[in-house]
């Protein structure tokens, strides 16, 4: 009706507009940077996989459609490395989780130097992968490695075993190393979960006369089930992706004995500079891993709505 009333009315929409746009403005730097350094390269990867593209002959690159993928499923090495990837994940993650659970249950008890112990147990997690890989190569060394020495002294083996040079043992030797690297992650996660279980539940269980095993089975395990699932999913993705330790320990050898699918992609591109085919393997691996990632994302997605 009057001019004086119209002014604040006009001012208010501008302010709400600005307020509505503000979060997008705040997000712009992070989103733009991720689009440029992650999503564009990823699209480029998918495009590259449709080309026959060898790095030192960029002019000879030509569009081949799905040929690379057809070649891939007929490639016997693809199936070998896929099998290794399954063994790799199937052994490493449960071993890490089991060892982490045992470590967490022990470190959750009361003792004077508990703080120190909890700090020290994480050390494998903080070490660079290269250092871990070289350290274990030294431990596994066929001639002077300490593992052979210990096993020989205990008469468990009769002659030194070339752990990383034996095609039948190399993959398992690397699994042991990765188990060592990753168990502290589980230990720490599970410890946090254990602390979230109310003491009263244990008291109630022991009043009911539940044995230690039954308490573990019916109080502890349900209490940490959520943590185990989340940490397990995260770890499957992480272990599947981790190629640096294997690369430094064995380079995928002997032969293809320790090559997993992502390592095969990396080596194919690095040694033969065959970026077209290497990227195809990487895309295929990403698609396969995508199933696990989707489960994890769906799980986390429920969280953020709050």
């Amino acid at each position: 009706m009057s001019f004086s009333a119209a002014l604040p009315d006009q001012a208010a929409p501008t302010r709400t507009w600005r307020n509505r746009l503000l979060p997008y403005g705040l997000l712009t730097p992070a989103v733009v940077v991720t689009v440029v350094i992650v999503f564009l390269p990823m699209i480029e990867a998918v495009v590259t996989s449709l080309y026959a593209f060898v790095l030192f002959r960029p002019n000879a690159a030509r569009f081949v459609g799905l040929d690379n993928y057809m070649k891939l499923i007929q490639d016997p090495v693809f199936w070998i490395t896929l099998k290794h990837t399954a063994i790799w994940i199937g052994l490493t993650v449960p071993l890490q989780m089991g060892l982490g659970l045992i470590a967490a249950l022990i470190l959750n008890r009361e003792f004077p130097w508990r703080g120190l112990a909890r700090a020290l147990v994480i050390i494998p997690w903080a070490l660079p992968s290269v250092v871990i890989a070289l350290m274990w190569r030294w431990i596994y060394d066929a001639n002077t490695g300490v593992l052979n020495e210990i096993l020989l002294r205990l008469s468990i083996i009769q002659s030194a075993i070339p752990w990383l040079a034996d095609p039948d043992k190399a993959l398992y030797a690397v699994v042991v190393t990765l188990t060592w690297q990753g168990f502290p992650f589980f230990a720490v996660m599970i410890l946090a979960g254990l602390q979230g279980i109310p003491k009263s539940r244990y008291e109630a269980a022991s009043i009911d006369g539940a044995s230690a095993w039954r308490q573990f089975r019916h109080v502890t395990l349900p209490g940490i089930a959520g943590v185990l699932a989340t940490a397990g999913l995260l770890r499957i993705i992480w272990v599947a992706n981790s190629i640096d330790v294997i690369f430094v320990m064995t380079g995928g050898g002997p032969g293809y004995a320790t090559q997993t699918l992502p390592l095969y992609a990396f080596i194919k591109a690095r040694q033969n500079l065959d970026f077209g085919y290497g990227t195809t393997i990487a895309v295929m691996f990403t698609v396969l891993l995508g199933v696990v990632v989707a489960i994890y994302i769906a799980r986390m997605s429920r969280e953020v709505e709050r």
Partner: protein
């Protein structure tokens, strides 16, 4: 008071198993530490010296005098510090937006950052190499900082969001009633309060970037060679000098390990929060 029988019992059921876990966790690193203190001649003839009486700094002296290890540490430092700065700079405002606003597309955008963190390195490393080559960025610090940021940004967005979530909203509102704008509230009220979280996120990014190997190997080169790549080149052509290599491993691992031990309490708090709630 703890009686004697219970003390023995505690040692048997708790201290000893705990000691076992700790030995398992740090044993291999201790072995490398002892190897690095064993002089080369003795290592070849008698093996690793267990007793400190036979230890010397010979390998460390050789490492510093005969290789470019200190220079490599410098490159690692530039890359790790650059990644930390870039990662934190773009993430703080994003985390504030996720924590304080409910807007269309919030969930999708948050999931996008989570998804990015799951992308296999091997999928990104090949196109990043091609792109860096196109822009002439290969073998520069910028290349490694950008590559490391692919992991650092999504990670720190998530970490900082959970840290800022823990700061009561009423504080922003109070500041705004007192005449601050949104941005001023962020800068004067939230940033100082979130500082411990920002510092520990920064430390984590620094450690990850310092320890990173595949990008450094692929996108670095003769000019920019980080510690992790340099350690590998310590492997001789004909035989491996384990003493020298161990010394390199210990020195290369030291900065990250010390940072981790300093910040571990807060870091673990932040890292486990998500998993415990989930």
């Amino acid at each position: 008071m703890i009686g004697k029988p219970t003390l023995t019992r505690r040692i048997l059921t708790t201290d000893l198993p705990a000691l076992g876990v700790i030995l398992l966790a740090i044993g291999p690193f201790m072995w490398m530490l002892m190897t690095s203190f064993t002089p080369q001649g003795r290592l070849a003839a008698l093996g690793v010296a267990i007793s400190p009486a036979n230890w010397s700094f010979e390998n460390y002296v050789r490492l510093v005098s005969r290789t470019s290890f200190l220079g490599n540490m410098g490159h690692s430092f530039i890359v790790a510090a650059g990644t930390t700065a870039l990662g934190l700079f773009v993430s703080v405002t994003a985390a504030y937006a996720f924590s304080r606003f409910r807007f269309a597309g919030r969930r999708i955008l948050m999931m996008q950052f989570l998804l990015v963190n799951m992308f296999p390195v091997v999928l990104l490393i090949l196109p990043l190499f091609v792109m860096m080559r196109r822009f002439g960025l290969l073998d520069t610090h910028a290349a490694l900082i950008i590559a490391n940021a692919t992991v650092a940004i999504p990670f720190s967005v998530w970490m900082l969001t959970s840290y800022i979530n823990a700061i009561p909203r009423s504080l922003d509102e109070a500041a705004m009633t007192d005449g601050c704008s949104r941005m001023q509230a962020l800068k004067r009220v939230i940033l100082p309060l979130a500082m411990p979280g920002i510092v520990s996120t920064g430390i984590y990014i620094f450690i990850t970037a310092w320890n990173e190997y595949l990008y450094a190997l692929t996108l670095g080169g003769r000019n920019v060679r980080t510690v992790t790549v340099a350690i590998q080149t310590l492997i001789g052509e004909y035989q491996i000098e384990w003493g020298l290599l161990s010394a390199g491993g210990v020195v290369g691992a030291l900065p990250a390990t010390i940072l981790f031990l300093i910040a571990q309490r807060r870091l673990i708090g932040g890292l486990t929060q998500g998993a415990v709630k989930g």
